[in-house]
């Protein structure tokens, strides 16, 4: 069985992003980039399935600039077998475009299971997995906290508001990961070295049969702003005052 895992290169989760003064976006100069944490969980899950003997091959795919190869190497160092880089240069690819590219890669690779992170921590869209699943007309198991795979189906325990929901999907299927699915392993130096030698295919959207019109951005970003600043803290005197502020001012109760 083959598993395809989509990985995205994003700003490292430890980085506190700064909004550019001109409102044109966030400042990414010299900022540490990493594999999207949810995608890292996706890679870990796929590698565990392989280690458990349920999967023969783990293929990674990343969509973005040539630098996304770094992200593929991180996943390869964790134990994936090979990578596919779909180079979209500096084009901003939205979830719908990514889903279309992944659809082509999926048709080409014919995996039984595609695992993605539930969302990327840069745009926080939480759409790609569901969109890919729709385009392939496959079942979807999103926000997974547990995945049990057998030959013909996958049972996914999903984190939903208020608890867990378990669904059984017939293969092929799409699964997206939530934080509690697993704890990704440490990519050791010997494995980083081995990963250097693993194959990475480089493709363009055109080579996958997608024209510019298929993947061009649909949304127009008007501006990017700092969120409203945290107000200077105040001291309250009584519990009643505190509860009142939390209910009526902060709106968190």
């Amino acid at each position: 069985m083959k598993v395809l895992v989509a990985v995205k290169r994003v700003v490292d989760y430890n980085v506190k992003v700064r909004v550019k003064n001109d409102g044109s976006g966030v400042d990414l100069t010299n900022v540490k980039m990493s594999i999207n944490p949810f995608d890292e969980i996706a890679v870990e899950e796929a590698v565990r399935l392989k280690e458990a003997g349920k999967v023969d091959e783990v293929v990674l795919v990343s969509i973005g600039s040539a630098k996304s190869e770094e992200t593929l190497r991180t996943g390869l160092a964790m134990g994936a077998d090979r990578g596919i880089l779909v180079n979209t240069d500096d084009l901003a690819v939205e979830p719908l475009a990514v889903a279309k590219i992944l659809q082509k890669v999926t048709e080409k690779e014919q995996p039984s299971l595609v695992i993605l992170g539930k969302q990327a921590i840069d745009d926080d869209c939480n759409q790609t997995g569901q969109m890919l699943s729709a385009l392939m007309n496959w079942p979807q198991g999103t926000f997974a906290s547990e995945v049990a795979l057998d030959d013909t189906q996958v049972t996914v325990t999903r984190e939903v508001d208020g608890g867990l929901q378990t669904v059984k999907l017939s293969l092929p299927a799409v699964v997206t990961t939530d934080l509690r699915l697993n704890e990704p392993r440490f990519a050791s130096l010997p494995n980083i070295m081995k990963a250097k030698k693993k194959p990475v295919d480089k493709l363009t959207p055109a080579e996958l049969g997608l024209g510019e019109g298929d993947i061009k951005p649909r949304l127009e970003i008007v501006q990017t702003q700092e969120p409203a600043k945290r107000q200077a803290g105040i001291k309250v005197v009584t519990v009643a005052e505190l509860v009142d502020k939390l209910k009526n001012e902060a709106g968190v109760l």
Partner: protein, 678 residues
Amino acid sequence: MSNDPLLQPYQLKHLTLRNRIIMTSHEPAYPEEGMPKGRYIAYHAERAKGGVAMTMTAGSAAVSKDSPPVFNNLLVYKDEVVPYIKDLTDAVHEHGAAIMIQLTHLGRRTRWDKAHWLPVVSPSHNREAAHRAFPKKLEDWDIERIIKDYADAAERMQAGGMDGIELQAYGHLMDQFWSPLTNDLDGPYGGSLDNRLQFAFDVLSAIRQRVGNEFIVGMRYTGDEMMDRGLSPEEGFEISRRLTESGMVDFLNVVRGHIDTDPGLTDVIPIQGMANSPHLDFAGDIRAATGMPVFHAAKIPDVATARHAVASGKVDLVGMTRAHLTDPHIVRKIIEKREEQIRPCVGANYCLDRIYQGGEALCLHNAASGREQTMPHDIPKATTKKKFVIVGAGPAGLEAARVAGERGHEVVVLEAANVPGGQVRLTAQSERRKEMISIIDWRMAECERLGVQFKFNTWAEADDVEAENPDVVIIATGGLPHTDVLSRGNEHVISTWDIISGDVKPGKNVLVFDDAGDHAGLQAAEIIAKTGAKVEIMTPDRAFAPEVMAMNLVPYMRTLQALDTTFTVTYRLDAVEKDGATLKAHIGSDYGGINQVREYDQIIVNHGVIPLDDIYFELKPHSINLGEMSHDQLINGSAQSVVRNPDGRYQLFRIGDAVATRNTHAAIYDALRLVKDL
């Protein structure tokens, strides 16, 4: 005036202390011929400069000739110590701190085959496990002599300008009298609690007669030996009350536990992975019971816990002793509201373990501590700004980057992994050792503050380095595990890293062949043993894990013994053969004549690392110095100026395990002493 509880002054009799943070008595083993000379003075002066309220010197300054130091302690039984003490106290006073000293007679906690070869003495014949000497049972003239020795030493300390003294009563002679376990004497010094305390009160009286009532005298003592039939907490509280009522004692410096074994000592002074401030509440109880000024130290590594200790009234003065080895300027940083810049003590306990093994206290990740005469704690700016490229973001590379950043250089660090840390991050994979990652986190935060640039996920090739147009290139790439040490069957063994990183799942019946003797071997063994597997640790040495050292060994042993690990010393793994799923280990011995075959399902070889030095050798021909580092300049503290290739484009240096397998301290020291002059 700050409201920070830690920064409030404290009045101890006539002595005004400028804040609440002290270093409790400790002996870094820096004396020269038993005297506190230049190195000793520089060490304490730096901490006084850093703002500490009081530094207490000399864990265990010896009052008698039959209390020879086990490691290098101050010999306060000599009159010649006085002028040296004067130099020390002057240097500390000059920076506004107070200074006191601890006096002791070690009793049985030493050896007879040292100094004057006098028999060691104790109130019983019971041997102390840690130092192994069978003591002479004290007789009357010994006791009289030692009481006088204490008074003489106290007088010398007063003459040397000390602000006070404390007497040691945990594990040393005074406590050997107190504890029922080590006192077989009949009256007047043995038997009842009154009798067991008689020696201490005789010593206090003799000291008071000599130094007067004003001079500050305190007691550092165990209030609970935490040992079957040892001194109980009830007795500890009773002793606390009697010390208070005697009027001869000005402060209580509270300790809890016993130190006659390595595990006991480690519970008194807990290390990495053990709970913080485990005895603080106990110290607070004694303060509440006696109303005396109370000091206390025992793994209070962070300012928040220290602040809590003082704010909650558990102690009057809080000891941050090991924390000050890591950062001598803690108080200055609190005052300047730069707490986040405090270099964190990670509890690696390299300082204490190094006293016994290596003869001097060194901080695992501050190579300037104890080397104040040659290594700066505040890095001076360089006169000329240079471009540095550093390959590798392990401890060596990050220290080099930090120091270069402090010097004002432009610094780019290239790192193969997605995260910094190198072997330290590997170490921190074990829950018990995760505090180690602060070594990396602190440096990353400092590097960020200093504008150091990082490129992660970059397996640097020579071209990547040269593309940066550097003036200085530092290769800190570390190494990869070296397991190729058998005469045959190397392909059947795995490394400790494979286990620690999780790359290879532990087997069921595992041999760890450890001839490096460092943490990695035990760490892997611990991970495997915890899965329920059978583990045998084998070493050709006479003792296993010699590089791990006494107190660091304690938590490993507690786990490994409980999991029934086998320790096999003086045997060597020669070769491995694979037979189906079974690995046949051919075992010999350096003593000769042994050829055994034993079976396992997994064999791990711990044998250090082989340097990852390809990039160094690729760059070498293009460098000005052809990689040469002048040892004279390195040791003298001057800038490297070797020119072997005038057409070279940059200076090239190699540090840390990229040179040869050593340890974290060596890697950091390599970096600091090279880069501070570049």
